[in-house]
Subunit: 131 residues, 2 copies
DNA sequence: CTTACGCCTTCCAATAGTTGGAAGGTCAAG
DNA sequence: CTTGACCTTCCAACTATTGGAAGGCGTAAG
């Protein structure tokens, strides 16, 4: 199938497929006589795999590793598990940072009148205090 | 003071200060005879303001607005409050997405042996299921 | 046959935010 | 006068994706 159909089937944009190929995330596609990329069902599976991994927040670097592990039948499951758990830790770190920001901002907003007067604890805090 | 000292005082990297100036986040600095940027205490305050707003996760676009509101004495506090609360909503959205990813990955990792065998529910799920 | 339209190709640029380097000018001390 | 620390501008990289331009290919209709 052509790249358009592969895109529709896998849910990965045609432009993105070319990009993934160019940075080596996925193997280079075979070409037709006219130079069109040709995809098999197996190729589409890789694309879907990448899409799902992105959906779980893995970086392209991590996904490159995951694709390698996926295609490597002699892989050990611990490699994958370590990658996944490291990723979980990163996300948990990010979550707690965001929660801290939300807490601070909500606290500041609570004391902000939100009317036409210029007094605003949010601005005052950004201007004067150590956030 | 020169850009180096302004950087040290405000906590914003000299390189970043020039960048902020170039994209219009902060006003253009005055120059010495030799062309060096010269900063006043007020300029440093703006830089610190920007740094704190970044620390709260505001985008540069939002910070541009915030700086404008800060310097505008006739602003209404509701403008700032709306900006802040919109930002909070965005962050809360991001938090729940991350939490959902963490939950899914932890669930998958729980059933992964993490030994030398190739069986791995994480990989299997990425390959076959709708994540 | 030829025109039209939709798909394909490559390359180049933009987004957000920062960081890094190269090549060169300036300033103060030794 | 030279050394070294500072400053200047410009250009490129990072992550991941999206957009456009310019051109080739494939098929259906006039």
């Amino acid at each position: 199938m052509n790249i358009g159909e592969a895109a529709k089937t896998s849910g990965v944009n045609a432009k993105l497929i070319r990009h993934y190929e160019s940075i080596g995330i996925i193997p280079k596609a075979n070409r037709s006589d006219a130079g069109y990329r040709v995809y098999s069902d197996a190729d589409v599976n890789i694309l879907s795999f990448v899409k799902r991994a992105r959906g779980l927040g893995f970086s392209m670097k991590e996904i490159k590793k995951l694709v390698g592990l996926w295609r490597n039948k002699s892989r050990s499951s611990s490699d994958v598990k370590n990658l996944a758990l490291t990723h979980v830790k990163d996300m948990e770190q990010k979550i707690s940072e965001l929660q801290s920001m939300v807490k601070t901002l909500n606290h500041l907003a609570k004391f902000c009148h939100g009317d036409n007067r210029p007094d605003c604890p949010i601005i005052d805090s950004l201007a004067k205090e150590k956030a």
